[in-house]
């Protein structure tokens, strides 16, 4: 008998500790094949923690619950195995690694065992509005805020994950690059295809709505104090937050 595994990401009753602090309390989330969701919420509410827990970084200790990706509970897998299953992320604050060029990172993402600059890398650089020289710079060393965002997204294009998380891809980005980033993320998540054709899944953290002009997300969630306090249509939730602030928006949302 062939069991057809469900192509989705499902988080059930997830609780996560960071350095002994209970940061995520009871998170439930379901992203189906082809869907892109938006994660909103005030500073310090636990958004980044959720993404890095899905990625499986060692500081994020799952104390309860499950993360089921493509039908498999991945909470005990090391990060690289999750990545090999098709998970990818654009970090909010990636580290600088001296001696490792952006080009080397791209080769790692493409699974190429070379340090040479490949045609693919040159093409990617162009697509992201980088000069070829930029590829030889140590990754994230002296990068501007906007350059970090583009470099992270470039690595994801090289990697082509099935489920992609973006941690504030739009903060600190100028208007021109906002359009560029918006369009590229949209393409990465196959938002340019008709819904029935989409396979890729996405989860985007943002404080701004601008990015949503380019990516019409399927669903939005608002995180508050380590829980998803409310979910709904992105437009409605955003309008609610804009008009009434997080707290009130959540209250009305929960009353409904």
């Amino acid at each position: 008998m062939v069991i057809k595994l469900k192509y989705s990401l499902e988080i059930r009753n997830l609780a996560v500790d960071v350095d002994g602090q209970h940061v995520l309390k009871d998170v439930n989330l379901m992203i189906e094949k082809g869907e892109t969701h938006v994660l909103l919420g005030p500073n310090g509410s636990g958004k980044t923690t959720l993404l890095l827990s899905i990625l499986g970084l060692s500081r994020y200790k799952v104390v309860r619950g499950e993360i089921i990706f493509k039908g498999r509970n991945i909470v005990d897998l090391p990060t690289d195995e999750r990545v090999k299953m098709g998970i990818g992320i654009a970090f909010q604050n990636p580290p600088i690694i001296r001696g490792i060029s952006l080009n080397t990172m791209l080769n790692v993402c493409m699974g190429k065992k070379t340090t040479e600059i490949t045609d693919d890398a040159v093409k990617l650089a162009k697509e992201l509005n980088f000069s070829e020289d930029f590829l030889t710079r140590d990754v994230n060393y002296g990068f501007s805020g906007g350059e970090i965002k583009r470099s992270e997204i470039m690595q994801l294009i090289a990697q082509q994950p099935d489920f992609i998380m973006f941690d504030e891809p739009d903060s600190g980005v100028d208007i021109e690059n906002m359009e560029l980033i918006g369009k590229i993320i949209g393409k990465l998540l196959e938002r340019d295809l008709i819904p029935s054709r989409r396979k890729k899944m996405g989860l985007i953290i943002t404080h701004l709505a601008t990015i949503l002009d380019y990516i019409n997300a399927d669903r939005a969630h608002v995180m508050l104090k380590g829980k998803i306090a409310c979910s709904g249509y992105p437009k409605e939730i955003l309008d609610g937050i804009r008009k009434n602030g997080y707290e009130k928006c959540i209250r009305t949302c929960q009353e409904q």
Binding site: L57, D80, T104, V108
Partner: protein
């Protein structure tokens, strides 16, 4: 090149690893010495002369003016030993204005048990000339209890440039004492690249460079200390001339029970001098030791001297960044160490570069 198959058989592989190419592809000349025998001393260009220093001293009376002038024979017991009991060494003379395209290669090889190889080398780069010398020092695999003492005196004349790349590939039972002095005249440039990746019983060296007016000295050092190796490597730079400058960069990795001492001393003596020391160490074991000793001494008010030193372990955050792009923990660590040791050396022979990469890959397994 010597056409002795038996000899080729046993040392070929070892000397290839230090960048010595028997086929002489893209080389301007070669010097090869095994134990106490000179096997090759040959230049492919008119502008370069390559000889052993014993013959060179007989041939050129003027060479006396360079003999023991950058290094004192009384410096220590090792220089004394070379003075009393010398076993050749290379003499490389580059004529004025010659811009030598391909590197000159040299290899000093120890093949026999209990050998004392005491060489005395001289490099003279005449006014306006430019050359790259790649010298590999190595020992036959498994040789025990051997000594290598190498005195090197380098003279860089006005406006000349010497790039000197030295690769050490000794063995866990070899005792090594290089003694180097470099004199750079006005507007001269000296670039030193030093790589030591393999275990060595005991290595200690601290080349001394004297910079004249507007002279530049750049040092790049890569040390990979493993097993029970003891390495003590430094450089002493005298900024004697006005407007002379130096930059000393070192990268040290220590693992197992090794001990690496990394020194750097800049002495600023004249107006508008500028010097910087950068010393970074990566610890891969609790039993290893890295001791970084950067030293600055200004003897003029018009000095700009600085240093930065940092020793630590591989950062977990960096490893996880690479893991989130699909590498496992070991692969990530080896990519980071490779990046850490990655210094830019122009014209580094491909063979050598591959050897360095391979070395890192092998040694990173199980970290």
């Amino acid at each position: 090149m010597p056409k002795n198959d038996k000899q080729d058989g046993y040392y070929k592989e070892d000397i290839l690893k230090v960048g010595f190419d028997l086929e002489e592809k893209n080389r301007s000349g070669s010097y090869l010495q095994i134990d106490h025998s000179v096997l090759a001393e040959k230049s492919n260009l008119e502008d370069i002369e390559i000889l052993n220093t014993v013959d060179a001293l007989k041939k050129y009376d003027w060479l006396k003016d360079y003999w023991w002038k950058a290094v004192s024979p009384d410096k220590d017991e090792y220089t004394k030993e070379v003075d009393i009991n010398q076993n050749y060494g290379y003499f490389i003379h580059v004529k004025p204005g010659a811009k030598v395209e391909f590197p000159i290669q040299s290899c000093l090889f120890v093949s026999k048990e209990s050998t004392h190889q005491n060489v005395h080398n001289i490099i003279i780069v005449e006014e306006g000339a430019e050359v790259h010398v790649i010298t590999g020092c190595s020992a036959l695999h498994g040789v025990n209890n051997a000594f290598h003492i190498g005195v090197s005196e380098m003279y860089i004349k006005k406006g000349a440039k010497l790039t000197f790349t030295m690769i050490h590939l000794w063995g866990p039972e070899i005792f090594v004492r290089p003694r180097t002095g470099v004199i750079i005249e006005e507007n001269g440039i000296y670039i030193s690249n030093y790589i030591c990746m393999n275990p060595v019983k005991d290595l200690q060296m601290s080349p001394v460079t004297y910079c004249g007016k507007n002279a530049t000295a750049l040092y790049q050092t890569v040390l990979y200390a493993s097993e029970d190796s003891k390495m003590d490597v430094g450089s002493v730079i005298y900024l004697n001339g006005e407007n002379s400058k130096t930059e000393v960069v070192s990268r040290t990795v220590a693992r197992d029970d090794s001990e690496a001492t990394v020194r750097g001393t800049i002495i600023g003596k004249n107006k508008k001098i500028k010097g910087h020391l950068e010393c970074r160490g990566l610890m891969l074991s609790d039993n290893a030791i890295i001791h970084a000793i950067p030293e600055l001494r200004a003897e003029t008010a018009d000095a700009d001297l600085s240093h930065e030193a940092a020793v630590g372990k591989i950062s977990e955050e960096e490893i996880e960044y690479l893991m989130s792009r699909g590498l496992n923990k070991e692969e990530a660590a080896s990519v980071i160490v490779r990046g850490f040791l990655n210094i830019d050396i122009k014209d580094l022979p491909k063979q050598l570069e591959e050897e360095i990469q391979k070395k890192i890959d092998i040694s990173m397994a199980g970290i």
